[in-house]
């Protein structure tokens, strides 16, 4: 407003003000047109879209031999005739159709999609300009499970300029579970950055035992976060004995987060004899490690675990004390530790035990 003082003799102001106003008016108009244009377009497309959705039901029915009436040639013509509006709708509908399908049904649908050219269409869509279109195509390929598209998905996961497309590609590789993707996923897991580490972790876990060596190798990574994720990954895909052999040494790792993850993962593995390193971890200087180790005690049917859990009731960390009482309740249900655990629960008047028993009575433990 002080510019109201500006005199017409200042030509810079008038030139700039005129230009700024003109640009702002144009921008405002453009945005308003875009907002309402979308509504108008949607209205105009509404009937077309509804018609297409009705037709889509007929098209998708062709994917099931029980409901098929037209045959592959008809389906090929329909797929080839999809326009810009119809392709994304068809992709989303296809995903919804595949979501509840069994492995056998998926294979049959995949063969049919290949035959009618739908897979080729999806492959072409992975190079579209708009990231969401690329991501949708990549995602659909993951659901379709076409193994021949794995090299393409690997390429998208590594070289697409958009992070969300890369992550969609990694998720798709996790769905397809083709061994060719494992080296790339291993690399991404060991050096997170281009793709969120949790996304890669999920994809690798979906490979099951085939990813065991990747996780085991990553336990020796220099990066703390990679070691932590590898602990959880290993217990998700490996046998309990392998987990114990690999993770017990990590309880002496200098990184507290790694020790905590190893302790928690050993708890997931469970067993009868409490690993000595896990027992030591219940006295770790870091509360997070003590807490994780105390939770793990409840998974080992070993009287020594009862003794350690009983001691942990006095831990200076509230969370650890609560978990110790919960571990005691769990141990009271195990054959070898039950008697001793029940005795501790009956004799102690510590508040964490009282709390745990109430939660147990409510079925919340």
């Amino acid at each position: 407003m002080p510019l109201g003082f500006a005199q017409p003799g200042f030509p810079w102001f008038w030139e700039v003000a005129d230009t700024v106003i003109a640009v702002l008016i144009l921008l405002n108009l453009a945005v308003i047109v875009a907002v309402h244009g979308r509504r108008i377009r949607e209205y105009a497309r509404g009937r077309r879209e509804r018609r297409f959705r009705a037709r889509l039901e007929e098209i998708l029915a062709e994917l099931d031999p029980r409901t098929s009436t037209h045959g592959p040639d008809w389906l090929r013509r329909q797929v080839a005739g999809f326009n810009e509006l119809e392709r994304p709708l068809a992709a989303v509908a296809l995903i919804e159709r595949l979501r509840p399908a069994s492995e056998e049904q998926r294979q049959r649908i995949l063969e049919l999609l290949r035959e009618v050219g739908a897979v080729d269409l999806l492959v072409r869509s992975t190079r579209r300009w708009l990231p969401w279109r690329r991501a949708l195509a990549v995602r659909t390929l993951g659901w379709v499970g076409a193994a021949e598209t794995v090299p393409l998905l690997i390429d998208r996961a590594t070289s697409d300029r958009n992070r969300l497309v890369r992550e969609s590609a990694v998720r798709a590789l996790g769905r397809i579970r083709d061994a060719r993707a494992l080296p790339l996923l291993g690399d991404l897991f060991r050096a997170p950055g281009p793709v969120g580490s949790g996304v890669v972790y999920d994809a690798l876990v979906s490979f099951g035992p085939a990813a065991e060596s990747t996780f085991a190798g990553a336990l020796r990574s220099d990066a703390e976060s990679v070691r932590v994720a590898a602990c959880y990954g290993l217990v998700a895909v490996a046998e309990p004995d392998t987990v114990k052999n690999e993770l017990e040494p990590l309880l002496d790792n200098p990184m507290p987060a790694v020790r905590a993850a190893a302790a928690e993962s050993l708890g997931q593995a469970g067993g009868t004899a409490l690993p000595p390193a896990l027992a030591r971890a219940t006295r770790d200087e870091f509360p997070a490690v003590r807490k994780a180790a105390t939770v793990a005690l409840g998974s080992y049917d070993d009287p020594y675990a009862v003794e350690l859990a009983s001691n942990a009731l006095l831990d200076s960390d509230r969370d650890t004390a609560i978990r110790a009482a919960e571990a005691l309740v769990r141990l009271s249900r195990r054959p070898a530790a039950a008697t001793q655990a029940a005795q501790v629960l009956a004799e102690t008047d510590a508040w964490p035990v009282e709390r745990a028993l109430i939660f147990d009575s409510l079925g919340a433990l």
Partner: protein, 478 residues
């Protein structure tokens, strides 16, 4: 001499204004681009058969004298689609029958309070667990204000993440699921995620869930709705992309519990405790862990109520601005420091230039205009030109936010969009000057070491069948 000073002042303000326009436009463009991606990512979740890294969430909600509405709100919290999950309601010394309503509705039974609480708070007198749904716990404590109540909740929360919200906020069913996915995708980097806080006033609410989003017709509410849309969709999306978010709304933010607890919980030293917490996370973590990310999940929605009248709005805005000044003072060492990334080098200077100084300049502009008019020295064409530019920039901000809303979420009717655009045009004549005036008043209060109280937010359209209740008055430190 005076003319020269005015000329330079005018020039400086013009440059300031141009920078503001450019930055605003850049934020909108960035937000729009990100919104296009959110569109496709919505609903895309992928969980392998054994996913051991899915973090549990404890939802902590303080409540003060909310007996008439608390049961419905808790039911809405418990209906959230997420596992593992628990709800911790903290009754902050209510003088009505908030606890009685909860006991009766959820069949609460007492559990021991225990000791070794990590964060000092006012005395916790009782803790209850629900027999009908053991995921619900209720903490009863002596009154200590919102931050104190949240800290008490943090002390007894159990899961890895804590979602901080208010007792009168409604979460959408999938809100935590979407936020949980953000943490799961990058468990090493993400330390906090905020969702979108939307306005419930005017919307159709059934069983404490917004079933038909609408915009309230009165200008006070419609202008605030437009303002929230601008702030969340037009600003936070872009700042999140740059990892420069300075605030996760107190009405809906999810944090790693260990970090929150280890850093002492919510601050009681400021009225802007939500902004302080976000800044503290940047301040403490980023120099050591540059990969730390504070993220905004635009598709995770919570619905809250805004002041339907000017008086409570005034109190709210004064509190917010006093909190902003406090936080800038507390975290002044972050300003323009590269080790804090975009938060230090871009977001904080932006906040100082346009949030802190903006109202002062705006008010100075109005005063100078009045003086010039009185002295018959105003150059009307130039003044009108500036006025038109201001109007168009404001409108561009609103239209940009509406476009993002349309592209990514598509929640409102055409009627509502028109209403928002209309009130946005009118804002320049009343809403913006008023809020600028209140913010300048807040600055004056802070300069004289005064702080406003928490005041009250009357229940309006969202809770129209309920009587008005007071929000906890916070004891303010001096």
């Amino acid at each position: 001499m005076v003319a020269t000073i005015f000329w330079w002042l005018s020039f400086a303000i013009f440059v300031y204004f141009v920078v503001y326009v450019v930055v605003t436009f850049a934020l909108i463009v960035m937000s729009l681009w990100q919104a296009l991606l959110v569109k496709v990512e919505r609903g895309e979740t992928f969980a392998p058969p054994r996913r051991l890294r899915r973090p549990g969430i404890s939802l902590v909600a303080p409540a003060y004298n909310m007996a008439p509405i608390i049961v419905g709100c808790v039911r809405s919290f418990l209906s959230v689609d997420y596992e593992p999950f628990e709800v911790v309601i903290v009754d902050d010394g209510s003088t009505d029958d908030t606890i009685g309503a909860l006991v009766a509705a959820f069949d609460l039974t007492e559990i021991p309070v225990g000791d070794r609480l990590a964060i000092p708070t006012a005395t916790i007198t009782d803790i209850y667990v629900s027999r009908s749904d053991p995921r619900l716990r209720v903490v009863r404590k002596e009154n200590g204000g919102r931050s104190d109540a949240v800290n008490a909740g943090l002390n007894v929360a159990y899961k890895e993440l804590v979602a901080l919200t208010d007792g009168d906020t409604m979460l959408e069913k999938d809100a935590l699921k979407r936020i949980g996915e953000v943490f799961a995708a990058d468990p090493d980097g993400v330390v906090a995620v905020g969702g979108t806080v939307r306005i419930a006033n005017g919307s159709v609410i059934e069983n404490y869930a917004v079933t038909k989003p609408r915009v309230a017709r009165p200008g006070v509410e419609a202008s605030q709705t437009a303002e929230y849309l601008r702030g969340f969709l037009g600003g936070r999306v872009a700042w999140s992309t740059m990892n420069g978010l300075l605030i996760l709304s107190g009405a809906f933010g999810v944090f790693r519990r260990d970090l929150l607890r280890d850093s002492g919980g919510l601050s009681k030293q400021t009225l802007g405790e939500d902004m302080e917490l976000t800044l503290r996370l940047h301040h403490q973590l980023r120099p050591q862990r540059p990969q730390t990310r504070i993220v905004y999940a635009a598709d995770a929605n919570a619905w809250t109520e805004i002041p339907p009248r000017l008086a409570p709005l005034r109190g709210q805005r004064i509190r917010w601005h006093a909190g902003l000044i406090d936080n800038l003072r507390i975290h002044r060492r972050m300003i323009c420091r590269r080790r804090f990334g975009a938060a230090g080098t871009l977001a904080l200077p932006y906040t100082i230039l346009f949030e802190l100084l903006g109202p002062l300049l705006q008010l100075a502009g109005y005063l100078i205009l009045v003086v010039l008019v009185v002295e018959h020295r105003v150059n009307w064409p130039a003044a009108v030109a500036l006025f038109v530019i201001t109007l168009l920039v404001g409108q561009l901000q609103t239209a940009g936010a509406l476009l993002i809303e349309e592209v990514a979420f598509h929640r409102y009717l055409v009627r509502d969009l028109m209403l928002l655009a209309g009130w946005s045009l009118a804002e320049l004549f009343w809403f913006r000057p008023l809020t600028a005036l209140w913010r300048v008043w807040a600055t004056v209060l802070v300069l004289f070491d005064q702080r406003p109280g928490w005041g009250s937010i009357p229940r309006g359209s969202a809770f129209q069948e309920q009587p008005e209740v007071e929000i906890a008055p916070a004891p303010l430190p001096r």
